[in-house]
């Protein structure tokens, strides 16, 4: 057997120290221990730990442990029964009805409270006109008059022969 300390198989030594190594593995290790002082020292140290832990007794459980536990369980059951009794409901689907109604009301309230997009005020129709300056109007009228005269000049006159 290869040395467990060299092959990083210390768990074999731990198992042997805790007396949980059985069969052929135990015999092989015991044969190895005859010739390996490092493993013997390891096992000796682990046995001491094991025996020290053996001496640590746990305290007995309190006599009223079960009574306290069942009281807590009863409180939980009673709470659930009170809730069901208060609502006067037997089947679960009936319990869902007020919950669903409440959820719908909350959803509606949220949707109604949601801020609407800001409205753009309609532009007054006279805005463009109001934006014009008087001299611009006069200038436009002058141009219209010029155009009118130009059109008049370009009209074929019946007294004037065509070129």
């Amino acid at each position: 057997m290869k040395c467990p300390l060299e092959t990083r198989e210390e768990r074999v030594l731990v198992a042997y120290s805790s007396r949980t190594l059985d069969g052929g593995d135990k015999e092989l290790l015991e044969a190895h221990l005859q010739s390996c002082s490092a493993c013997r020292e390891f096992v000796r140290g682990q046995r001491e730990v094991w025996e020290a832990l053996d001496g640590w007794e746990a305290a007995p459980v309190s006599a009223d442990f079960d009574r306290r536990l069942y009281a807590r369980m009863q409180r939980e059951v009673s709470w659930w029964q009170r809730m069901r009794g208060r609502m006067g409901l037997v089947p679960v689907y009936r319990a869902l009805l007020p919950v669903t109604t409440l959820a719908a009301l909350v959803l509606a309230a949220v949707l109604l409270e949601r801020p609407s997009p800001p409205r753009v005020p309609p532009q007054p129709v006279t805005a463009q006109v109001e934006g014009l300056q008087p001299d611009q109007v006069v200038h436009a009228l002058d141009e219209m008059e010029v155009l009118d005269q130009f059109n008049h000049m370009m009209k074929p006159d019946s007294s004037t022969p065509r070129m």
Binding site: Q46, G55, W56, A58, A59, P60, V61, L69
Partner: protein, 201 residues
């Protein structure tokens, strides 16, 4: 001293686990089966938690929570693992949380005192002398201190291995880690304990 349990059954044979059968009966509304489970596992769970948090009152409070959770989960219980694996997983989870929350932060201080939490010294027919009793108490305090100094998972692994004699595979399932991780945890834990307790030899 030994609190042996049958650990021959692995998780795969959970369907044959009698405790799991009892739990399935609890699921069907059989309160007597719950009482049987409580009777069988009350002491192992309380003792495990006591050694984890080292305060009897806290340990019993946590144990009550363990059994309450078992009872609450009865409706959804499925025997996918051995019952004790599930039970100790709940217990370990609660104990590690309690340690993390510092619910037993005064624990170290209390180790210096003779506490009512501590079990009475085992008195044989031939009563030990006062000196022997003091030596025994000092030894016990050293052991408790050494265990309390271990990281939570190492502590849980050692307690399940030493006092419950659980196999590596089951400890791995309780701690939700690999079997090789458990071997590593145990080796480190025992080595730390050996170093801390070496002066007692």
């Amino acid at each position: 001293m030994m609190e042996r349990v049958n650990t021959n059954m692995g998780g795969a044979t959970a369907a044959l686990d009698y405790d799991a059968e009892l739990m399935l009966r609890v699921k069907d509304g059989d309160g007597a089966s719950f009482a049987q489970l409580l009777e069988k596992h009350r002491s192992p769970v309380v003792h495990f938690l006591y050694r984890m948090v080292q305060q009897q009152a806290v340990a019993e409070e946590l144990a009550q929570e363990v059994f309450l959770r078992v009872y609450r989960s009865r409706g959804t219980y499925e025997p996918t693992a051995k019952f004790t694996t599930w039970l100790f997983r709940i217990a370990t989870h609660l104990a590690l949380n309690a340690l993390r929350d510092g619910r037993n932060e005064r624990n170290q201080e209390r180790l210096d005192e003779r506490s009512d939490d501590m079990p009475a010294l085992q008195v044989e027919d031939r009563r030990p002398s006062v000196e022997q009793a003091m030596v025994h108490q000092a030894t016990l305090d050293e052991v408790r201190r050494a265990v309390a100094a271990l990281p939570g998972k190492q502590r849980a692994a050692v307690l399940m291995h030493k006092y419950r004699e659980m196999e590596y595979t089951q400890i791995a399932k309780v701690l939700n880690c690999s079997e090789s991780a458990v071997k590593s945890l145990l080796f480190r834990a025992y080595e730390t304990l050996r170093a801390r307790l070496a002066h007692m030899a």
